[in-house]
């Protein structure tokens, strides 16, 4: 029983074995080349994979946020799902990344709704819009989007925010 598996696979210190003054260990005796510890590497890789899998999102990135835009933060935010996105950035309005004049906002939103109903008559249109804007924007600019949305029949508004901030 002296030749058991545990003894055979017991770990030896590669650093101590490489010591030129007082080398310890059997196989590594006087060997100057340190061996790579594959077991710990596999452990580290496994932890990384588990961490990345935990933070994996199947929905992907819904919004494109430019570097000049800082979204407001909210601690009670919910997960964002794909809806019609209306963005206000640097004085310009965008619907699904298409720049629009303010006067065309209503017709565009209405058109999108009608197009969906025409394409998919068996499905129900969700009547929701996502509003994306910088945190320092005045509400007056977004009010026009809310108005246009209300007129086009969008009942629910989702304000895009950064999740998990501590609300002061």
């Amino acid at each position: 029983m002296t030749n058991n598996v545990l003894e055979q696979t017991s770990m030896e210190s590669p650093l101590l074995a490489c010591s030129t003054l007082k080398p310890k260990g059997g196989r590594y005796l006087n060997a100057l080349a340190a061996t790579l510890m594959l077991t710990s590497l596999v452990d580290a890789f496994s932890i990384l994979v588990v961490y990345l899998l935990m933070s994996y999102s199947s929905s992907g990135e819904i919004l494109f946020i430019s570097k000049d835009m800082v979204l407001p933060t909210a601690s009670m935010a919910e997960d964002l799902d794909r809806q019609v996105i209306v963005k206000y950035e640097k004085g310009k309005y965008y619907v699904e990344d298409e720049e629009l004049e303010l006067k065309d906002l209503f017709s565009k939103l209405l058109g999108m709704r009608k197009e969906f109903q025409k394409k998919y008559p068996e499905l129900e249109f969700e009547n929701k819009i996502i509003i994306q804007a910088d945190r320092n924007v005045e509400y007056g600019h977004l009010n026009t989007v809310i108005h246009a949305g209300a007129q086009a029949g969008y009942e629910e508004i989702k304000f895009a925010v950064m999740m998990g901030g501590v609300s002061s």
Partner: protein
């Protein structure tokens, strides 16, 4: 006996396992989303339904002032409840905290909301009325605070 012990000593081929893990890590790193974007959901407060269809539930209309103060106006509370509160308008003063300049007093807002909830258990609705100069961030903050204090139905009023 020695041969049997050698049979137990099975070596797992770690190289292929490491390759698999490396591919997994590369894929997950490339597809990872580092910025967590969420949403605060509100309903259109005005329009949509006729007055007859609308179910009357107790609600507050939170009017945001230019200085950061918030005035809560009570709607569809009974007269007895309003009398108990000392009126249908409750003013939340501006916060004195240095990191909350230009904002309402969150503690006072929380106290008023829990007072209203204790008076009427059905109270879950708040309608936010910002002014045109109100910062978008502050509107979101007020919504966030209301949600934190247990208000489920939030609405935002067009100007």
């Amino acid at each position: 006996m020695a041969q049997n012990n050698q049979d137990l000593d099975v070596e797992i081929n770690l190289v292929s396992f490491i390759s698999l893990l490396s591919v997994c890590i590369c894929f997950l790193l490339l597809t990872a989303i580092w910025i967590q974007v969420g949403s605060l959901n509100v309903k259109q407060a005005v329009g949509g339904q006729s007055a007859a269809e609308t179910k009357k539930t107790p609600a507050v209309w939170a009017q945001m002032g230019a200085d950061g103060a918030v005035v809560l106006k009570l709607h569809d509370f009974s007269r007895a409840e309003t009398r108990k509160l000392g009126g249908s308008r409750l003013k939340i003063k501006v916060s004195s905290e240095p990191d909350e300049v230009g904002l309402w007093d969150k503690k006072e807002l929380g106290e008023q909301v829990s007072l209203l909830q204790s008076i009427n258990a059905d109270f879950r609705t708040a309608l936010i009325i910002p002014n045109s100069k109100t910062k978008y961030e502050n509107v979101i903050k007020l919504m966030d605070h209301f949600k934190e204090f247990g208000m489920k139905d939030l609405g935002v009023s067009p100007l």
